[in-house]
């Protein structure tokens, strides 16, 4: 009996105590209504010249150019990327984003533009780094893991006098966008089966262009893995005139199959890659800026 009383007493005590503790548990320091990592739009009275430019680009093309890094942009614990300087960001956005990328895209492929253009475009001073200090191991030209967001690096090197670099950057932008498209739709087993079992993996950089071409890759980096194979195929057709591409694919059946696959992949969505090549070439080499 004594034991029962003891037990009863402890139960009551416990119940009382746990109830009184429960009350304090209601107090939490997390306010669910606040998204701490949200991008807070700057009030208009704080806008600088670049903010106005980004706003007009957003209104015209529906793409938000992000040049300032917030905790939301830097989401990944093992990724390191660094914002570009203000003056380079401004010059880059004006020329590369607006004149070279979005305007020709919307003017020439309005339907493709409205369906397939990333909603966020992030510009980085350097590249995408997997290391915190000054080594370039594991760096990427851009990032493209989500189909709504594209990022391009190297903006601190932007120089509008260097047309060859501008053209290369624009073509790489389309390479990164190809990853977006791959993520969104999937290149599928048909593409992967073309070169299955023959990828170079980390040995890609030891291969020459001629070797890569004869192995069925548009360049050595395309031999790294299927996703880069897909993106470098897009890149090659965007970089070189149609007759140069035709000459190359006639030397190798795998190249021809990949070419046909990629051309159809884009054509089905409303983009002719040969026409895109002509546009990229002409905006960089045949316009004044």
């Amino acid at each position: 009996m004594k034991m029962y009383i003891k037990l009863f007493l402890s139960m009551t005590m416990l119940a009382f105590l746990s109830q009184s503790c429960e009350k304090s548990e209601e107090i939490t320091t997390i306010d669910e209504s606040i998204d701490y990592f949200d991008i807070v739009d700057k009030p208009k009275d704080k806008w600088n010249e670049l903010d106005y430019l980004c706003d007009s680009i957003y209104k015209a093309y529906g793409t938000k150019v992000i040049y300032e890094f917030t905790p939301k942009i830097i989401r990944n614990g093992n990724a390191f990327y660094y914002p570009a300087t203000y003056d380079k960001s401004l010059a880059y956005t004006r020329l590369m984003v607006d004149k070279f990328w979005l305007k020709p895209l919307k003017d020439n492929f309005p339907e493709y533009h409205s369906k397939e253009t990333p909603r966020e475009y992030i510009i980085m001073g350097g590249y995408y780094h997997n290391t915190p200090v000054a080594t370039n191991q594991g760096s990427g030209a851009g990032f493209n893991g989500q189909f709504y967001r594209l990022g391009m690096g190297g903006i601190n090197n932007f120089d509008k006098q260097n047309k060859a670099n501008l053209h290369d950057h624009l073509v790489i932008l389309w390479h990164e966008h190809a990853h977006n498209q791959d993520v969104k739709y999937g290149r599928g087993p048909l593409f992967d089966n073309i070169s299955v079992g023959t990828y170079y993996k980390e040995q890609w950089s030891t291969k020459t262009l001629a070797q890569a071409n004869s192995d069925g890759f548009f360049r050595n980096y395309g031999g790294f893995a299927p996703e880069e194979d897909f993106a470098t195929t897009v890149e090659h057709i965007t970089r070189f005139p149609e007759n140069t591409v035709t000459t190359l694919i006639n030397t190798n059946d795998k190249l021809k199959t990949k070419y046909n696959f990629v051309m159809k992949f884009y054509q089905d969505k409303g983009l002719n890659l040969h026409r895109l090549q002509v546009l990229c070439d002409s905006v960089v080499y045949k316009t004044n800026y």
Binding site: K6, S10, M13, L14, L17, S18, S20, C21, K23, S24, E25, I27, T28, T29, D31, I34, Y36, V40, K42, D45, K46, W47, N48, Y67, E68, F69, T70, P71, I74, G77, N78, F80, Y81, Y82, P83, A84, T85, Y86, D87, K88, S89, M124, G125, G126, Y127, H129, N130, T131, P132, V133, A134, N136, S139, G153, G154, I155, N156, N157
Partner: protein
């Protein structure tokens, strides 16, 4: 039973001490407001003393001037010169409170990228720990590599001391050949070390060397990659440095060539990149003399002579050495 009771009581006692969330949010709001006010109320600028690491064991000042109307900040430092040193900043809310975020490319992101090779900066986003009218205490969110603990070095920013003048217009930019009349010949540098009380008399001959070019030089400490290319390409000069016995001695006691780069109104004996003689000598400079840069606190030009008042600072911004540079008559 007693143990259970005691345990339960103790755990409840903690709860009584819990802070209400309204109080927390109010304190975060207040901190944010205080920060905005402090930045806005200090047109002379805030000073962040950044510790050089590796062979640069000295504190480098970065003077930051905040334009709170447009959220822009300009920075000057002995690390280098920027033709356009305007960058953006934001005051964000992080999970742990107010974050001062140097959101655009700046000296801070450049130094972060170069890591411990150049400085102790490990992030360009800082948790704001404390705001007072004359000091801001901030801490980098990251401390270094991936998965390293949160929280880097804690910096106590202070208002720019009234005796500091080197953040004015750019003087003696040696990239301009018109300013070469003040170098390329023997000059005297007479310094006083305020820590030891010793005087240091030096005969110095500074020559722009063959590394100088408008494009990125292989010797530039910020060359490594585009992420850190925020400063203009560096301007490297060979400085032939001879200690002398007295302030008027005409012969030196020993000769060493150091590499001087241009900071903002300053000469810096800085880390260069790659292997060269300067990179052997430069790290020894700080070990020997206890400073790594000299700012031009005042420049007086007369004809082909210039009198430059020089200073270097400690962690609190007090001069550790001061003196003058004059062209040798």
């Amino acid at each position: 039973m007693l143990a259970v009771l005691l345990f339960a009581l103790v755990s409840c006692e903690k709860d009584e001490m819990q802070i209400k969330k309204e109080d927390i949010f109010a304190s975060v709001d207040k901190k944010e407001l205080d920060l905005k006010e402090a930045l806005g109320a200090t047109p002379e600028g805030w000073v962040m003393m950044v510790k050089g690491t590796a062979s640069r064991n000295a504190y480098f000042p970065i003077i930051m001037k905040f334009d709170t109307a447009k959220n822009l900040v300009s920075m000057v430092s002995p690390f280098g010169i920027q033709a356009n040193n305007k960058s953006t900043y934001l005051i964000n809310r992080g999970a742990s409170g107010v974050v001062l975020n140097f959101s655009g490319g700046s000296a801070i992101s450049a130094l972060m990228r170069r890591g411990a090779y150049l400085s102790d900066i490990t992030d360009y986003q800082f948790n704001v720990l404390d705001v007072k009218s004359d000091t801001l205490t901030i801490q980098g969110i990251r401390s270094g590599p991936s998965y390293a603990k949160e929280g880097g070095v804690i910096y106590k920013l202070f208002k720019k001391p009234v005796t500091w003048n080197w953040d004015g217009p750019l003087e003696l930019d040696f990239r301009q050949t018109t300013n070469h009349v003040y170098i390329n010949k023997w000059s005297r540098v007479n310094l006083k070390n305020h820590l030891s009380g010793d005087s240091l008399f030096v005969l110095l001959n500074i020559n722009p060397n063959s590394y100088n070019q408008a494009s990125w030089s292989v010797t530039d400490a910020f060359l490594s990659d585009a992420s850190s290319r925020v400063f203009d390409p560096h301007f490297l000069m060979n400085g032939t440095w001879m200690e002398a016995a007295t302030s008027s001695a005409t012969a030196g006691l020993n000769t060493t060539v150091y590499g001087f780069t241009q900071g903002y109104n300053s000469l810096t004996v800085f880390q260069t990149w790659g292997s060269n003689t300067l990179n052997v000598n430069n790290p020894l400079f700080n070990t020997k003399y206890g400073f790594s840069y000299l700012v031009y606190n005042k420049v007086t030009k007369s004809g082909n002579n210039a009198l430059i008042e020089l200073e270097a600072y400690d962690k609190q911004g007090k001069p550790i050495v001061s003196g003058v540079y004059t062209v040798y008559p």
